[in-house]
Symmetry: C2
Subunit: 425 residues, 2 copies
């Protein structure tokens, strides 16, 4: 059961955000950029406060027996605070999406029609461990003219509070409304539940984190949700693949940074090249520390190459390992690869390696994912790599935004129609 | 409780739609246009079937004591069937949104990036009475490469079944997958409930109808929803309004077609012009059959002009009358008008009448609605009026689509990234 007090507090915070949003929306770029630069300077000036708050979080986490990997994600240092400040400066340097005329025309009756980008209003971000998301998300929302409600994890509560205090102080001093950047109060799932009910007060919720969090928000929320991040990505080595390229792309997609959503989790190899590719690929993967989960043919090839392969089950095809594990299967055709992807992929990123133009064209046409790579690593699906300058997440759904989301994806539009007394007859 | 059989039937229909969607997505424009033209011809050729089925619906409706207005909405005639067929031909003549490159660039590392429009996949339309929506929605979905699930009202069940049979027959004969256009089986709210659970099978639900239906879908659905249609629209006559223009726009916005969502429901008059405008406006509205619900000042002006004014309550400001009723208030300033709109409007369309450029600019900047009119009737918020050639509805929400939705709003995008062996280092 949701405590009524906790829910009322979340409602109060959201109402203040709604008010702040009406002040934020018409702010010109110069005002928003000045606030972002002031926030960056304040983060650096008050770094000691941030680190002290972070130490409190770390102490609690250590006492709770948190894993070293989680502790590392939670840890802030001078350098990490400087990186957050620099992130705000980079966002300040990006063009303002608000006010962009997306399309426009003069209608036959002389009415002037313009579709103009406007802020969404109140954006709620629900995220886990890393405190840097607090600053990144706040910066992107301020730049796009939105008020933001930040609901971080309990484990980073002190760090997030210190960061938001600094951002809000600096932002207010620079002319932003006081409630432009707020932390959502309350621990546990309660505050998330309360947020998810605030249709009309909150314009969109963006969950960033594990599949469990995202699924819960997506199925329970009455506020519209942009689904991000689950990446069960596939590399398909086609019959016409250059073998060296297939090897390089498979290795890079899996091992460059295995813990992120654009890392590959499955490799499909066309039967025609399997006898030549697998004996090179399996030792290379093993050498990079990758555990291969293979179908019968891959397992046999592993035995031939002296590489241990774990027999794959259906669960492997559907798993986002986020680790140095890779599911590998041999497929009889490009269409079989597409069918496998349709069944198992999360629709994030799939790659084909091929020298065949018809094969590339067919794969691109039939694969329904946010990003489809031809002869490139899945790791390129990223707002910075795509040249967007910033990223609030990677959408794996089809409405509003799909793929890496930059500043324009944090906006809506409105139609402005200008006449000189036009009426309909 | 939802009957399990009914739910299973809806799931089966949705699965078939999902399959059909994968065939629809890569279809070139010529194939889709040929199917639309074949559907149009079939509707005309089999018009007698449609009219016979419609007569069955009408008989049931008459027996149930349905109102004349509802009977009229339900009634099909030769002319109305021809109009539906012509609608399909118009959609065939529109450009194909699928395949449009929304943006593209060559990244510094040589990767070629393209963001390309693709169909959403499976679109569910939930609608009331009018059988023409069946044909309109099917046409727009086919053109945009989507499979469509049509869930019409029970009162039009026979008409809708006949229409879908004809569309599906003709579409299939012209090469579309057999399940591109399907009716959702089951009566009452059960089939809607079942649809709303099919996240992953259905990509979007678009409810079209009254506020009750839309609210139910918006709050209960696990499938993403595009909210359409509720229009509590406002005309604001500014201090600097041309009085003749204010009169003409107020009358046109209210009376041109009072039953639709872009009709005005509220008129706000700046206090400076109220003494001159109201004595002309109130008799003109009365002469057009409009019942005015006014604040104290408007009621007094009515008494002075010999026009009965119903004293307005807060409920009036929040009501979408959809009838010849209009709530009228005097406001002390443009900002007071904006505050009224923020509190009461549904965010569909608001209009300002003014000769002042600063006033127009301020109103456009501060009013957060899907469409903002300057010196034009609210009635222009319409896909056909905007030159989109077709309209699936008018979105009053901010995600994905806002305002009149044409063919592009029935699409998503995917990123296609082409390299020559690019890996991340």
């Amino acid at each position: 059961m949701l405590s009524e007090d906790a829910a009322a507090e979340v409602v109060a915070v959201a109402r203040r955000a709604r008010e702040a949003a009406t002040t934020m929306a018409p702010l010109p770029r110069a005002a928003k950029d000045a606030a972002l630069l002031a926030m960056a300077a304040a983060l650096e000036a008050r770094c000691a406060e941030v680190l002290a708050a972070n130490e409190a979080d770390l102490e609690r986490a250590r006492a709770a027996g948190t894993s070293a990997a989680m502790l590392d994600r939670l840890t802030l240092t001078n350098e990490r605070v400087t990186a957050m400040a620099d992130g705000l400066r980079e966002v300040a340097a990006l063009p303002d999406p608000v006010g962009e005329v997306v399309r426009g025309s003069t209608l036959p009756n002389g009415l002037e029609l313009r579709q103009v980008r406007v802020p969404l209003g109140v954006v709620g971000i629900i995220y886990e461990a890393r405190p840097n998301v607090t600053v990144d998300a706040a910066g992107l929302c301020v730049k796009s003219g939105n008020a933001v409600l930040l609901r971080g994890s309990g484990s980073a509560a002190s760090s997030n509070q210190a960061l938001v205090d600094i951002l809000a102080d600096a932002g207010t001093a620079a002319g932003l409304p006081a409630d432009a950047v707020q932390l959502v109060p309350g621990a546990g799932h309660e505050s998330v539940k309360a947020l998810m009910r605030l249709r009309g007060l909150v314009d969109v919720l963006i969950p960033r984190g594990g599949a469990g969090l995202i699924n819960a928000v997506v199925t329970e929320s009455q506020v519209p949700v942009i689904e991000t991040g689950v990446g069960n990505c596939t590399v398909y080595a086609d019959a016409d693949a250059d073998l060296d390229m297939a090897l390089a792309i498979a290795l890079n997609s899996k091992t460059h940074r295995p813990s992120v959503c654009n890392a590959a989790e499955t490799l499909l190899v066309h039967a025609d090249i399997a006898p030549e590719l697998l004996p090179r690929l399996l030792p290379a993967l093993a050498g990079a520390g990758v555990t291969v989960h293979g179908d019968a043919e891959v397992t046999a090839a592993g035995a031939g190459a002296g590489v241990d392969v774990v027999p794959a089950t259906d669960a492997d095809w559907g798993t986002e390992y986020l680790s140095l594990d890779l599911a590998v299967a041999v497929v009889p055709s490009l269409d079989a690869a597409v069918a496998h992807i349709r069944r198992w992929s999360s629709g994030h990123t799939e790659a084909i390696v091929t020298r065949s133009q018809p094969a590339a064209r067919r794969f691109v046409s039939l694969v329904d994912s946010a990003a489809v790579m031809v002869n490139a690593s899945t790791r390129f699906t990223d707002g910075h790599q795509f040249g967007f300058g910033a990223e609030i997440g990677i959408s794996t759904q089809k409405l509003h935004a799909r793929g890496p989301m930059g500043l324009p994806e944090l906006t809506s539009t409105k139609y402005v129609v200008t006449g000189d007394g036009h009426v309909r007859s």
